[in-house]
Symmetry: C2
Subunit: 905 residues, 2 copies
C-alpha cells in the first residue's frame, strides 16, 4: 500500500487522475483523466507518470522492473471489458502510445497507433473485425510509425515503398489499396526495417510496447527538446508522461471517422462548432493534407447522432473548463470517442469576443473573462490587416522581425523627405531604410509602413512604428538598401523606388506588389471616424476593458509628443501623459535651421540668440499639447539626444568633401561651409554617443537650452491657465546619475517657473522629477529623491547600461543570446527582473525611504509589456506609461495582476 | 560662567586652546595656542572662534554685541604686559589680524599687520621706538593692506602711488625711502582711500579692528571661497576663525628680521634648517620677490643667538609634532618670535627620506612613518625628471593633462610605425597622436613619451603610458596634430616631424626643444641596471616599503601582458599578475595579418583555419610569460576588444575609396579589395562599441576563438609544468552580464583544459573566474558566483556603465563636472564609493553568500589609486592589481588602511 504509484488509470470506473495533475500526468494525461472522470466517452487507458521518465533516464534508459510490472497490471485490466489481451491471436488488444509532458514541446516523440499487431494478431484482428483490409492497413501504419519514431528510420523511406506499390498498381489514393497491395507494403516495410536496423520488426507485442514507452522517454533527452526547454526555461527534470490507450478506429470503414475541432471559431470567436474530419481515416490523416477533410457540420448528414453527441460533449467540456476547447475525436462504427481536449489558441479578436460572450452566456464571471485574453493579443485588434486570400497570391520577398503589427502596402521610397513629398502627391509609400533615426520621423509619419535592414525589436524604427501604430518590419538583413541609387536587391530581384511592396508587421513578411488592406474598426472609432455603436468589434473591446478598469490599480499614461498623439491616447483611456519628448519638436522643418545654427554657435551669446528664435515654436508646441490634456498631468522631458543627432553625419560630409575637391571646378564656398560643419561634427562626434554628451549633461553644460525649454513650457502653461484651462506640468530631467545634476537642473527650472508664474500672476501647480535610467541614479535613489518630486524609470537606457549592451548594436550577438537561451526573454522588450528589476526595486524602496509620497512610474518601452506591467505593479509603481496603442494592453495587464494578487493573498 | 566662550587666548600664562581644537580655532589658531602652551615664544594674542563666523553671517554681517565685548576684554589684557593700549597715543598697542580656517583655502582674506595705527598713534610709535621711519613704514603698510583687504581697493593702485614717489625721488628700493617720502606715500594712500570709498581711512582704531574682523568673516562667503569649498566638499558651515595677535616687528631696523623655513629640506629631505629671511622686513616681503632673501644659515653671522634659539625651537616643534614643520618667525631687535608652524609640504623623495630618517632618529615609530608619505607621491621617485634649471630655458608650447609623470624629450613623430623605425635608427622620439589605440602599442613602447590631443586621465594613452611608465601628456587640445601632413600647429608655431620637443608628465607642460632628463635611480635598480646598495634613494624607498609589507593585509598584483612587464612587476614586489590581456599580443606585427584574415573570414571553418596560425604565437606568448612567474598566480583575460579594432577605420577606407575612384587611372583590384574590407568593417561597425560585440560576447558567438586561446594557455602551462616549472593559471572571462554567459565560456575552457592536461599527463591546478564590470554581473553576483572561482572588478567599465558615461567621450562635460563639483573626484581615477562602490560591496557580499571562499580582486585603473585601495580593503577584497609602477603606492596605501583600522578598532 505504501508503494509509490507510477501508473494512473483513466478507464471508466477507475480514474486515478484529474486535470490538476499535469505535473504527474502531463497535459494530455491529465485531461484524459478529467474527461473520463466526468463521464465523457474516452477509450480506456493509463498514464505512465513523469516520475518514471526521470527514473528511466537515471537508470541509463531502463524502465524499473516494478514499473514494468505495474504497467503490465494495468494492461491486463485494460482489455478486460472487451476481453482482449495484448498479443492474443484471436482477440488482440491494440493500443496507442502517446507522449504528454506538462508543456507541449516540439521534438518530442508523438504518437504510435495500432500497437499490439504482429503477423499473428493481424489475422485475429481481420477475423474479429471481419475486415481484412482494415487489419492490414492498421498493421502497415504501425510498422511505419514504429519504424519512424522508435527505430528512427526516415518517414520518406516508408513513403517511397508505399508510392512504389501505388505506382506499380496505378493507384492514386491510399484507400484504393487492395489487401494484396497492403500485404506487399507490409513486406516492403519489414524488409526496410531489417535492412536498416539489422533486426526484424518486433513480433513480441510487449517488446513493442516497452520499446515505444522507452522511445518516448528517450525523446525527452533529444537535442531539439533540450534546446526548446532551455529556450523556454522549462526545467529538465519535469519529465514526460506516456499515455497508453486502447485503440478505437476511425479507419474501420465508412461508418467510422476521425476529426479535430474547436468549440468556437478560433479566428472570429463566433459560437459554433468549428472543425474538420475524414471518414475512414486514422491519426494524422486529417492534418496531413493528402485528402481534403470535410467541415465538421457535414457529420450531421451521415452521423447525426454522433454529431449531436459531439456537440453536447464539447459544450459540456467548454462549460467545465470555462474556456474554448480544442479537441480530437474518433468515431468507430458510429460510436463517438474523445481523444483529447485542451484550451484553444485564438486570435486577439476571437479572444475578446469569446471572453465577453461567455460572460453574457453566464458561463464565466468578469474576472475569469479578463484572464481569457492575453493582453498582447489586443494589439491585433488595432492594426490594418491584409486580406488573407489576397495575400496568398503574392510572393514573399524576405522576412524580418515583426516589429509593429498590421499590414501596409505602398510604393518603395528610400528617404524620409521623399516619403513626405510622395505622400503630398497623393501616393501611399513604404519607407525602406537601412535604419531610421529621429530625423526620419516626418517620413515615417508619412508612410504606410516602415521596413529596415538593421535593428531589433526595440530599434528606433520598431519603437516609433509601434508608437505611431505603423506596421513595421525591422532587421530584414536580406534587403540591405542602396539608398543612394534607390533600390534594394533580394537575391536576383531588384526592387526600385516606386515599386509596390507590402509588409506584414504581424508576421515579418515582405511581399511583392500591392495587397489590399482593411483598417481596424476600433482605430476608426478611436479616431472619431466611426461611431462606437456602429462597430461590433469596438463594443466587445470596450466592454472587456471596462471590466479591466473596474479592478486595476496601476494608472496608465501614454507616451505622446504631439496633440494628435495625445488625442488618440485619451480616446484609449490614458490618464495623463507619462512622457512628452521635447526633441521631436526640434526636428520639424521650420525650426531645424535654428537648431543647427544654435549648435554651430561658438559662444553662449550666439546660442542664446538662436534659442530666442526657437522659443516661440516650443511655446506653441506645448500650448497645443496642453490644450488636449483637460487637466490630466503631463510629464515633459527636457532635451535628451546628443546635439550631433541634429547635424549631418561625419562620413557623409567627408565623402562629399573629397568628391567636391576632386571635381573639375570645385565650389570653394561650399567646401568652406562644409569644412566648418565637419569641424563641428567632428568636435561633437563621440565613440559611444549613448554614454556621451546628452540628457541632463546638455542642460548642465548649456543651461541656456534648458532655460529656453522651461520658459516655453511655463509660458504656455500660464497662458492656458490664464485662459481658464487646466494644466499640470511635471518637468522631468533625463539621464541623471547623481543628485547634484538634478539639483542643478531643478534650480534652473524652478527659477524660470517662479518668474513666469509671477509674470502671469496666476496660480500654477507643477513638479520637477527625474528619469531613473542610469544604474547610479537607481543605486543612489535615496539621495536623488531629496530633489525629486517623482521618478520615472527609463528602462530602455537602464537596461542598456545595466547590461552594458547597446540595443542598436545587437546584430552580432543579441539574436544569438535570445536563440541560445542566454537571455530567457528580450530584456529590451520585457523587464529583466533579476538585474534591471532589482535596481528598480532598490530605487523605489530607497526613494520612498527618503520621500514616502514619491510618485514613481515607468516610461520605457517596457511600460506597454504585460509581464513588465505585472512587475511594476508588484514593486509598487503608481503608473506605467506606454504608447497610445498599448493602453488597452496595459489596462488589461494591470487588471490581471491585481486580480492574481487578490486570489493569491 | 555658563556663558558660551567665543574668544580663546594664546597669551603666555593663559592659553585656552591646543592643536586639537582646529574646529573651533582654525589651523593657525590651534597651532599658535599649542606653541604658546609648550612655552615657545609666540607674540600673545587671541582667536575669535569659528562659531562667531556663523553667528556673524546669520546676523547679516553683524558681530554679536556679547562677542564684541569679549574681544575688547581680551584686547585689554593683551596690552597688559607691555602696558600698551589699542589707540593709546603714547604707547599704542598694534596687532595683526589673520584669518585661519580648519583647512587653508584660497580666496580667503589673509593678513592685516600694524592695525592700531592712525595719525596720532603713528607719532607715539615713532617716539616710543625712537624710529620715525619705522613708524611711518608700518603706517603705510597698514593703509595699503587695509585698503586692499577690507576696502577692496586694488593693490596695484597702492603700488602705483609708491612707484610714482620712488620714481620722483630716483629711489630703487623701498628701504631707501626717507621719512618725507613715506609721509608722501601715506598722504597718497589716504587720498586713494577717500577717492575710492568716499570715506577717510578710519582713525578710530577699534573701528579698524572690527572692520578687519568683519572682513575676514565676510571673505568666508566670497564666491571664490564658496567654489573652493564646493569643489573640495568642505562644509559651508565650518566657518573661519580670526587671530588677533600683538605685533612684533621684523622691520624695526637692522637688528630685526623676518623669515620662513622648514625643519628639513622639503625637496631632498635632508636634515637641515632650511629657509630664508630678510633683515628689516615685514610680512610678505620675504616671498614677494622684491628683495632677494638670504639663506637661513646667514642668520648665524649677525644673530647667532637668535639662530641657535630658532634651531632649538624648530627641533622641539618637529619632535612635538612628529613631522617636518613649515614655520614663520620674526626677530625684533634680536628677540625671536614664532608666528606660525604647520606640517611642511614635501616632494615624494623628501617624504620617504624624512619618514625613514625620523624613525632612525628615534623621533617616530614605523607606523607613524608610514603615514608621513602620501602613497601617490611615491610615483615621483620612479620617473625620469628634467633638470629644473635647464627646463626654465625652454619655451612652454602648450599644456595638457599630466597623465603619466616624468620627463621625456625627443623628436616628434606622428605614427606608431615611425616611432619604431626612428627608434631602430637610434633616435629618441615623442609620439604625437590625436589619440592612441591598441594598435599604437608598439609605437608607444618605442617612444620616450606620448602626447595626445584628446582623451582624459584614463584615456588609452594615459593608461598605457602609466602602465609602461612612459611620461604622457594627454588631452592637449591646442596641439591637434595633422597626422597626414606630419605637423602640429600651436598658435603661429608649426612643429614638424623630427623637431625636438619635451613633455613633462608631472605638470602637463609641452616645451620646445631638447631638455636633458635624468633617469630615476630606483627604476635603474628595479631594471637591474644599478646595484641596490649603490642607490641611497633605493635603500630609503625599500626600507619604507618593507615596513609597509609588515603590516598590510591586501595582496598586491600587477597588470602585465609581457614577460618584460612581469619582470618589472616582480622586482617591485608583485604577488602575482592580476590581469594579463591577451589582445595586446594580437597586435604584434607578425600575427596581425592572421588576425585580420580571421576576422574577414565568412565561415567558421575559415576562421578556425586562421586561428590555427595564431595558436603557436599565443602559446609562445604564454609560455614566456609563465616562465617569469615562479609559481605566482596569473590571471589571464580572454579576448576582450571588439573585432573592428583590428581592422582599418571606416572613414579612412571610405575616403581612400573615393580618392582612388576619382584618380585618373583607378586601380580596380585595390578598389575591390578595399570594398571588401569596407563591407566587413561596416558590418562590424557599431554605434556604441563600448556596449557592443566584445568581451565574452565574442567568445560566445565565436567559440573557436576562446578554444584557441584556452588551448594556447593550457599547452603553454602544461609544457612548462612538464619541464618542472610552476604555473597557476586563472582564466578570467570578461564582460559577463549573467551567469549563463560565464557557464558557457567556462564549459569550453574546462573542456580544453582537461583535454590538454590529460594529453600532457601531468597535474595542473587552474581556476576559472570572471570580471565584474557590468552592473548586472554585480547585481546578480550570487548567481554568477555559482560558476566563478574568483571575481575581479573591472572598475573602468563598471564605472562607465554605472554612470552611463563613456570616458572617451567626456570632453563635452566630464571636465565641467569635475570643475563644477558635480563629481567630487574623478570616478575614473578613484572609485565612486556611493555608486560603483555600492555595487562592489553588493557583489562581494552576494558572491560570498554563495561561495564563502570566493577570491575577489580588482584590476581596473583604480587598483593603483590609494583611496580606492582603502575602499577595497574595507569591503574585504583579497587583492588589488595595478600597473607595475604603482605597486609601491599600493603597498603603502594597503599598509595605511590596515593601520588606520587597527587604531580605530
Amino acid at each position: 500500500m505504501s508503494q509509490k504509484k507510477y501508473v494512473y488509470s483513466f478507464a471508466p470506473g477507475s480514474v486515478d487522475g484529474n486535470r490538476n495533475m499535469r505535473d504527474t500526468l502531463g497535459g494530455k494525461g491529465a485531461n484524459l483523466a478529467e474527461m473520463a472522470g466526468i463521464g465523457i466517452p474516452v477509450p480506456p487507458g493509463f498514464t505512465v507518470s513523469t516520475d518514471v521518465c526521470n527514473l528511466f533516464l537515471k537508470a541509463e534508459n531502463q524502465i524499473p522492473p516494478e514499473v514494468e510490472e505495474e504497467i503490465l497490471g494495468h494492461l491486463d485490466r485494460l482489455g478486460d471489458g472487451a476481453e482482449q489481451r495484448l498479443g492474443d491471436e484471436e482477440n488482440p488488444l491494440l493500443v496507442s502510445v502517446r507522449s504528454g509532458a506538462k508543456f507541449s514541446m516540439p521534438g518530442m516523440m508523438d504518437t504510435i497507433l495500432n500497437l499490439g499487431l504482429n503477423d499473428q494478431t493481424v489475422e485475429g484482428l481481420a477475423q474479429k473485425s471481419g475486415n481484412g483490409r482494415f487489419a492490414l492497413d492498421c498493421y502497415r501504419r504501425l510498422i511505419q510509425m514504429f519504424g519512424d519514431v522508435v527505430l528512427e528510420i526516415s518517414k520518406k523511406d516508408f513513403e517511397n515503398i508505399l508510392k512504389g506499390i501505388k505506382h506499380q498498381n496505378n493507384i492514386e489514393n491510399d484507400f484504393e489499396l487492395s489487401e494484396k497491395n497492403l500485404e506487399d507494403v507490409i513486406a516492403g516495410y519489414k524488409n526496410l526495417v531489417k535492412d536498416r536496423t539489422g533486426i526484424d520488426f518486433p513480433q513480441d507485442v510487449k517488446e513493442q510496447l516497452f520499446m515505444a514507452i522507452s522511445a518516448v522517454f528517450k525523446s525527452w533527452g533529444n537535442p531539439r527538446a533540450i534546446t526548446y526547454r532551455r529556450l523556454n526555461h522549462i526545467p529538465h527534470d519535469l519529465g514526460t508522461a506516456v499515455n497508453v490507450q486502447m485503440m478505437v478506429f476511425g479507419n474501420f470503414g465508412e461508418n467510422s471517422a476521425t476529426g479535430v475541432g474547436f468549440t468556437r471559431n478560433p479566428a472570429t470567436g463566433e459560437k459554433e462548432l468549428y472543425g474538420e474530419f475524414l471518414y475512414n481515416a486514422q491519426g494524422e490523416d486529417v492534418v496531413a493534407g493528402i485528402r481534403t477533410p470535410s467541415p465538421i457540420e457535414d457529420l450531421k448528414k451521415n452521423m447525426s447522432e454522433a454529431y449531436d453527441e459531439l456537440e453536447e460533449i464539447t459544450t459540456r467540456l467548454e462549460k467545465h473548463y470555462q474556456d474554448i476547447q480544442d479537441f480530437e475525436f474518433t468515431i468507430q462504427e458510429r460510436k463517438l470517442y474523445m481523444l483529447q481536449t485542451r484550451s484553444g489558441k485564438r486570435t486577439g479578436w476571437a479572444a475578446v469576443r469569446i471572453a465577453v460572450d461567455m460572460v453574457n452566456e453566464g458561463l464565466i464571471n468578469k474576472e475569469k473573462a479578463l484572464f481569457l485574453v492575453e493582453p498582447e493579443s489586443l494589439d491585433q485588434l488595432l492594426h490594418p490587416v491584409f486580406d488573407g486570400a489576397e495575400k496568398a497570391k503574392h510572393e514573399i520577398l524576405a522576412r524580418g522581425l515583426a516589429a509593429s503589427p498590421g499590414a501596409a502596402t505602398g510604393q518603395v521610397v528610400f528617404t524620409a523627405d521623399e516619403a513626405v513629398s510622395w505622400k503630398e502627391a497623393g501616393k501611399r509609400v513604404v519607407l525602406v531604410r537601412e535604419e531610421t533615426s529621429p530625423d526620419d520621423i516626418h517620413g515615417m509619419s508619412a508612410s504606410q509602413g516602415i521596413l529596415t535592414a538593421t535593428g531589433g525589436m526595440t530599434s528606433h524604427a520598431a519603437i516609433v512604428g509601434r508608437q505611431m501604430g505603423k506596421p513595421s518590419v525591422v532587421g530584414c538583413a536580406a534587403i540591405m538598401p542602396n539608398e543612394e541609387d534607390r533600390y534594394f536587391q533580394v537575391g536576383d530581384q531588384k526592387v526600385n523606388e516606386g515599386d509596390w511592396i507590402s509588409i506584414d508587421g504581424s508576421s515579418g513578411e515582405v511581399l511583392h506588389g500591392e495587397i489590399p488592406t482593411k483598417p481596424s474598426e476600433i482605430l476608426q472609432v478611436i479616431r472619431g471616424e466611426l461611431a462606437p455603436e456602429e462597430s461590433v468589434t469596438f463594443k466587445y473591446f470596450d466592454k472587456l476593458l471596462s471590466w479591466a478598469d473596474e479592478v486595476r490599480k496601476l494608472r496608465v499614461r501614454a507616451n505622446a509628443d504631439t496633440p494628435k498623439d495625445a488625442r488618440i491616447a485619451f480616446a484609449f483611456g490614458a490618464e495623463g501623459i507619462g512622457l512628452a519628448r521635447t526633441e521631436h519638436m526640434f526636428f520639424e522643418r521650420e525650426r531645424l535651421p535654428f537648431i543647427k545654427q544654435m549648435i554651430m554657435a561658438e559662444t553662449e551669446d550666439e546660442r542664446r540668440e538662436n534659442l530666442k528664435h526657437i522659443l516661440p515654436f516650443q511655446k506653441t508646441d506645448f500650448y497645443e499639447l496642453f490644450k488636449e490634456l483637460k487637466g490630466y498631468p503631463v510629464t515633459i522631458r527636457t532635451l535628451d539626444p546628443p546635439l550631433h543627432e541634429f547635424l549631418p553625419k561625419k562620413e557623409e560630409l567627408m565623402v562629399e568633401l573629397v568628391e567636391l575637391k576632386a571635381s573639375g571646378s570645385p565650389d570653394n564656398e561650399r567646401i568652406q561651409e562644409l569644412e566648418k560643419v565637419l569641424e563641428r561634427v567632428k568636435a561633437l562626434s563621440e565613440f559611444n554617443p549613448m554614454l556621451g554628451h546628452r540628457g541632463c549633461r546638455l542642460g548642465i553644460t548649456f543651461p541656456e537650452i534648458i532655460e529656453m525649454q522651461a520658459q516655453a513650457i511655463f509660458e504656455a502653461a500660464c497662458e492656458l491657465a490664464s485662459e481658464g484651462g487646466k494644466v499640470f506640468p511635471e518637468i522631468m530631467v533625463p539621464l541623471i546619475g547623481s543628485v547634484e545634476e538634478l539639483a542643478d537642473q531643478k534650480e534652473i527650472i524652478v527659477r524660470i517657473a517662479e518668474e513666469t508664474i509671477k509674470k502671469y500672476n496666476i496660480e500654477l501647480e507643477y513638479t520637477v522629477g527625474t528619469m531613473i535610467e542610469i544604474p547610479r541614479a537607481a543605486i543612489t535613489a535615496d539621495e536623488v529623491a531629496k530633489e525629486a518630486d517623482f521618478f520615472s524609470f527609463g528602462t530602455n537606457d537602464l537596461t542598456q547600461t545595466t547590461f552594458g549592451v547597446s540595443r542598436d548594436d545587437g546584430a552580432g550577438f543579441i539574436n544569438h543570446y535570445l536563440t541560445h537561451g542566454f537571455w530567457k526573454d528580450d530584456p529590451f522588450a520585457s523587464v529583466d527582473v533579476s538585474g534591471v528589476g532589482e535596481l528598480m526595486k532598490w530605487a523605489v524602496e530607497k526613494g520612498r525611504q527618503t520621500k514616502p509620497e514619491l510618485k514613481v512610474g515607468i516610461c520605457g518601452v517596457h511600460g506597454g509589456d504585460p509581464r513588465s506591467i505585472f512587475f511594476c505593479h508588484k514593486i509598487g509603481l503608481d503608473y506605467v506609461s506606454c504608447s497610445a496603442y498599448q493602453i488597452p494592453i496595459a489596462h488589461l495587464a494591470a487588471a490581471q495582476v491585481t486580480l492574481s494578487e487578490d486570489t493569491t493573498s
